[in-house]
Symmetry: C2
């Protein structure tokens, strides 16, 4: 019982990774799972201070998150990462190190993201004011076979949550229902 | 039940931290606890590549171990660190971040360590061939009030293990006996 795994969100800035990650964490805790969210900013402060946004530094940061997720997952915790994690090879390397890994691709077009642009980052990035901005001036490599794709430009977040939890149940990552 | 905590060993190189940490891990696993040892070398490779042995870099490395230990401990795992961790302020900072923290000072004189010198490191350090060697060319600050002091220059390791497990029981970090 109570087997851990890593729930790995990937996608562009603003695609809704953190929002869905936090809702999923809430629902999983309600079902008595142990859950730990590795927030991108907190991890950068605690594990990766001094690293920048070059490919090499991003890879190092993501590998560290993956290492910590794995430590938690193999000890019965559902470890959730919600970092952009733009490079496929590093995501797949982390997957290979895991016994149980569930990747959620938060898909959303640049057009949609630029339209919303809650933090005004896309406007700045498109104007060339932010360097190494994933999706604009830095690559984002889509996952080839994630366990789940969420089209966050179309779906309502409550529906995405239901889809995620349903898939976790169907694929036996978690037990069905409230399951106490 | 099954509450996690961090079991933090500190002491000079060769004082027996890893040996006792591994024996303790074995005994605690036998008692059905979840245990994770954060091995100094593995952590350096996974979380601290590029860091050296200056005070600043050592502190960063130790803080990262402390952060990961805390993530594990608050999720029900007994997280064991066996790094030298020479500076008192950083150890105490990590303690303050924890809800449950147990510090074991592996005490052993430089004379005794130089006499044993299994890896030949003390000979080299005394000859000036290793820079920043804790206890010789770099400071080691003894803990002022660790939960346990082990005099590894005098005690047999089986006795140290018994003392450690007995103290963990007496201080209610773990349940008495084999406790399945």
């Amino acid at each position: 019982m109570d087997e851990g795994f890593t729930l790995w969100f990937t996608g562009l800035s603003g695609a809704g990774k953190s929002t869905l990650a936090n809702l999923a964490a809430e629902e999983l805790r309600r079902r008595s799972h142990r859950v730990e969210i590795l927030d991108g900013d907190e991890v950068r402060m605690n594990l990766s201070k001094g690293l920048g946004f070059s490919k090499e530094d991003r890879d190092t940061n993501i590998r560290r998150i993956g290492y910590v997720c794995n430590l938690l997952a193999r000890n019965g915790v559902i470890a959730i990462s919600a970092a952009i994690s733009p490079y496929r090879d590093v995501r797949d390397e982390i997957r290979r190190n895991h016994r149980r890994f569930f990747e959620v691709y938060m898909k959303c077009s640049i057009e949609k993201l630029s339209e919303r642009d809650v933090k005004g980052l896309y406007r700045k990035a498109l104007a060339g004011e932010i360097k190494n901005f994933t999706g604009i001036s830095d690559p984002y490599e889509e996952p080839l076979s994630p366990e789940l794709v969420i089209d966050s430009g179309l779906e309502r977040v409550e529906d995405s949550l239901q889809k995620l939890i349903g898939t976790l149940e169907a694929m036996k990552y978690i037990r069905n229902g409230a399951g106490r």
